[in-house]
Amino acid sequence: MTLVAAREALAVNRAADAPPGSAARTGRSAAPPVAMGQTAPLLQIAGVSLEYRTPERVVRATHRIDLDIYAADRFVLLGPSGCGKSTLLKAVAGFHEPVEGEIRLDGGVVRGPGPDRIVVFQEFDQLPPWKTVLQNVAFPLRAAGLAGRREAEARARHFIDKVGLSRFADSYPHQLSGGMKQRVAIARALATQPKVLLMDEPFAALDALTRRKMQEELLSLWEEVRFTLLFVTHSIEEALVVGSRVALLSPHPGRVRGEVNCHDFTLGDIGSRAFQAAVQRLHGRLFEASPEPETPSAPR
């Protein structure tokens, strides 16, 4: 709660379903994020439509998505399967080219994958099995030429320590549990110090207890490092706990239904009435039979 004290004033907007772009957004930029104090968004997704091709047809995954992500945001893309949230995240990572619109990071248009946007995937095989934990965390630093051998190792050790895996620095990934592998992936992402940290349902393959613990650790890491996070999930609870702001996506094709502030929820609030009410509200908005006329925010 305390860590977002600067934004406490915004809590009002959370309850009211404020349409994105108006009150919520201006109010937000008025309360400066702790790290930078800048007013321009760090990551802009402007009118982005994404399509993918199957042997028979071209499928539109997302349609004209507009989203702004500010420095130190914990921005969550929430939606049912088929809403293109993972595809959108991969487009930000540079793996998909938008068919219209553009993605701007720090003013520059995103073209192709790069180490300024490190992804934590859901799958455990994202870690090269032939490298130890230490080598794995140092690998992107060396591969991208961001640091010399010694500095890369020092930085890797620092972040391995942060995720509590110092004892396993010389283990190979196959010797670790699923949760530990995800911790390595997070340490690896943080060591690279990307402009945006992208997480694609990183805890979905973990058991419930480990997932809860990982969410806790992610939040305390955020408190310490204040990275900018773009997080994809289909769990409403996870979205509210992990995120500071949640974008709701509707499926087939993915469009933005709305954005919700949730920076004042922490893991301790899960049982609280306000939290349950927020979950219910989001659940209702995600699973309504047909979209109501006033809600869709994406221009047709």
């Binding site: 490190i118 992804v119 095989d125 992107p140």
Partner: protein, 290 residues
């Protein structure tokens, strides 16, 4: 009716457990079991049984010209090794083999790198392997002799042919089997082109590459001995195959067997020492194969 049956409600209990002292928690396996787990011992026993059967068959046949016994073969082998003749033959064979194998492997890597990066390369690889992989290397030997003459060059040509296709095929299959997430992770680090192949694709495909190298090695060794049997030596210097062929002509059957035994022994050494060590240090250590 079933739905009316309710399970009895039983009292709960909670007991304090005394430390377990009745027997040690972990026990050592019996000595015989542990001994039997040693792979070399089991395989050694099989080899010993084969040698025994061989010796018995030779004693029953009682004709050294047709089937010399195990001991006779061993003494011929020892004789050949001590006189240095077999060692020299082995050296010649292995030298040619190493050259052909290396060239074949390098060409295979070039071809597969091309195949993973371009569509044309893919088509080229699949067409060429479909054409040439089933073609026995020995069938090319007459042509090779015509082009390169009697000598090492012809042998190297057929060796390259026998190594190139299986290695290329396996390496390419390995590259295709690299998980999509790992590929994306590599590209996420900003790797592309050759560094991407070298730092992501090759290590990730190493189990398949190693098995391709093993198959290539077996093909090459087989082809070399066969080729030497067919056209023998150039300028009086022949390898192991030539040694076998020559001694058969002179009816030194025990030396023929000694040569064959050496061929087998070299195969076993390369398989069990070189490749096994390579696997233990890489793919086994990384948990990519069991």
């Amino acid at each position: 009716m079933n739905q009316h049956v309710l399970p009895p409600i039983r009292p709960e209990y909670d007991r304090a457990l005394a430390p377990y002292v009745e027997a040690p928690v972990a026990r050592a396996l019996p000595f015989a079991t542990r001994l039997w787990q040693q792979g070399w011992l089991r395989k050694g026993l099989i080899l010993a049984a084969l040698a025994l059967g061989w010796e018995a068959a030779a004693a029953w046949q009682y004709n050294d010209l047709l089937l010399p016994g195990f001991r006779a073969t061993l003494s011929a082998l020892a004789e050949g090794l001590i006189s240095g003749e077999l060692l020299e033959r082995m050296r010649i064979s292995l030298q040619v083999l190493a050259q052909g194998y290396l060239i074949g492997v390098l060409l295979a890597f070039g071809l597969t790198t091309l195949a993973v990066s371009t569509q044309t390369g893919r088509d080229l690889l699949s067409t060429l392997t479909a054409m040439f992989n089933p073609l026995p290397a020995i069938a090319l030997l007459p042509l090779a002799l015509l082009w390169f003459g009697l000598g090492a060059a012809s042998l190297i040509f057929v060796l390259v042919h026998s190594v190139l296709w299986p290695v290329a095929l396996n390496t390419y299959a390995g590259f295709q089997g690299v998980p999509e997430t790992l590929r994306m992770a590599g590209r996420n680090y900003g790797l592309r082109g050759l560094p991407y192949v070298w730092q992501i694709l090759i290590p990730a495909a190493l189990p398949a590459i190693l098995s391709g190298l093993k198959i290539g090695w077996a093909f090459a060794w087989r082809t070399l001995i066969a080729a030497e049997l067919v056209f023998g030596a150039a300028s009086g210097k022949g390898g192991l195959g030539w040694y076998i062929f020559q001694n058969r002509n002179e009816l030194y059957t025990d030396r023929v067997f000694a040569g064959l035994l050496l061929v087998i022994a070299i195969g076993l050494v390369v398989e069990n020492l070189i490749f096994a060590t390579l696997e233990r240090l890489t793919v086994r250590r990384w948990g990519m194969v069991r």
